[in-house]
Amino acid sequence: MIKYIPFLFLLFLACGCSLKTPENQWQYKSTNAFNSYTKNFLSSKDLLAKNDLKRAIKHAKQSANLHQLAKIYLGACALNISVGTQDTCEKYTNIALLVENNALRSYYKLLTKHIKKQDIKYLNKNYRIFAHALINKDYAKAEKSIFHMQRNSSKILAMALLAKHVSYASLQEIINIASYQGQKKVVLFWLEESKKHVSNPNELNKINQKIKVLQ
């Protein structure tokens, strides 16, 4: 068996060398860095997240195609909103004119709650029912639609956009989802929000203690 190990090693090396790297490596690197940023940001690993975002932006700036960069700026803005941080997506708006993309524009409008009916078709399927309900101010429907969304990150963002109108049950549900995924920042934000729904001093004390422990 031992004599086969060097052979296997050489084979593995040959396979590795034969793999062709894509020419748009900057895009792969930027996407990977942004995905890492998302994970670290939501988990409250701020130092790592900062570094990841820097890397994502740096790689995106390797190309004259600013679509990737605009997506990064919008993504970062969406994440901030997801955890209750005020963000006007200024960085995106600075380059928005250079990126003619309806999907991104509609997404930006959703984030800033300026979405209109004609923009809905450009949105990701995840958000269409939610956006429609939001325009019609049918908050109960919007809330219901959140839990039909496939991606958890979309659920968290939609919940944050609907923050003032969500029920305590939905709020608990989102805390459970974020807790399961270890998204500390989201958990802390929704624990703070849940205080507004609680009047019982014991319950309030419990929430405060939970926040204290997590911080």
Binding site: T21, P22, Q25, Y28, T31, S36, N51, R55, L74, R151
Partner: protein
């Protein structure tokens, strides 16, 4: 190879190896001066606070000896013995003094200052130790100065209070001046006959009186000032000047040390930045190895 020959060869090799090791060790220790005769000297000090066994004795920045023993005498003083290597014995002559240097940053050490053209010191001779002030000593020495300055300020306060009080000379003089000028104003016939004008006479009288009293006041104030400055010179300016010189020396020392740390920190920062950039490159490469087609597009939340 025959077994016996092999055994001898291995034995010879091991023996040679040990001889070389021991030889190197001996050479190293010899070069370090371990086998050289050392000459002992001593000095007395009030406190052993800054001394410790093995503390270096320096001459012109070189370590020439070290403290071997510290003992507390019956009279409360401290006896410190140190030794120097044979080759450095020549620097210890009669009249040589030791100064304990206590820098703000770094460990304290003893500096030897020797006098030229004086006979060499005999072994076990005692030297004089001078203590240089550190920042704590300076603060301690400043305390009486501050107290004296406070006393002087109190005196100045008393003087000004006295001058301003109702029964002070200054106030009395001013009152007298007032009375005199009033009298002159009423009886100005003498000067009026000289000046030919009542107004001019009045002005002259006022001016003369004012000048006289101003001169008296100035004399008094100058006298007081002279007293104060004399006291200031003795109690504040001279000690403060010495203290400032000491502080200046310490600050230079700190600046020198911080300067070198600053350079080191900049280098360290640069190295860390390069390290981070390199680790980022590695992360990118690892990510690229795992990348699939779907990883080219960012999925917005």
């Amino acid at each position: 190879m025959h077994y016996k020959t092999m055994k001898r060869t291995v034995g010879l090799f091991v023996l040679t190896f040990f001889i070389i090791i021991l030889g190197s060790l001996f050479f190293l220790l010899k070069e370090k001066g371990t086998f050289e005769k050392r000459y002992s000297y001593s000095f007395e000090t009030d406190s052993a606070e800054y001394f410790q066994l093995g503390m270096p004795v320096k001459f012109s920045g070189f370590n020439i000896g070290l403290i071997d023993d510290i003992k507390l005498n019956d009279n409360g003083s401290v006896h410190v013995a140190f030794s120097v290597q044979k080759k450095y014995k020549k620097f210890l002559s009669e009249g040589s003094v030791l100064i304990i240097i206590k820098p703000l940053i770094g460990s304290p050490h003893i500096d030897l200052f020797t006098s030229v053209d004086t006979p060499l010191l005999k072994e076990n001779a005692s030297l004089t130790l001078i203590s240089s002030d550190n920042i704590n000593d300076i603060i301690m020495s400043l305390q009486p100065v501050v107290q004296k300055a406070k006393a002087i300020l109190d005196n100045v306060h008393t003087i000004t209070n006295y001058l301003a009080s109702e029964d002070s000379e200054l106030i009395q003089i001013l009152q007298n001046m007032n009375t005199l000028s009033a009298k002159l104003a009423k009886n100005d016939s003498l000067l009026t006959s000289l000046t030919g004008s009542k107004k001019a006479t009045k002005d002259i009288i006022t001016s003369i009186n004012e000048t006289k009293h101003i001169m008296q006041n100035i004399k008094k104030i100058t006298h007081d000032m002279s007293k104060i400055t004399k006291a200031l010179n003795k109690t504040i300016i001279q000690p403060s000047s010495a203290t400032i010189k000491e502080i200046n020396k310490i600050m230079k020392d700190i600046k020198k040390k911080l300067g070198s740390y600053d350079k080191d920190l900049l280098q360290l920062k640069e190295q860390i930045t390069v390290g981070v950039a390199k680790s980022n490159q590695i992360i990118d490469k690892v990510d690229a190895l795992m990348a699939t087609e779907s990883d080219a597009e960012i999925q917005l939340p």
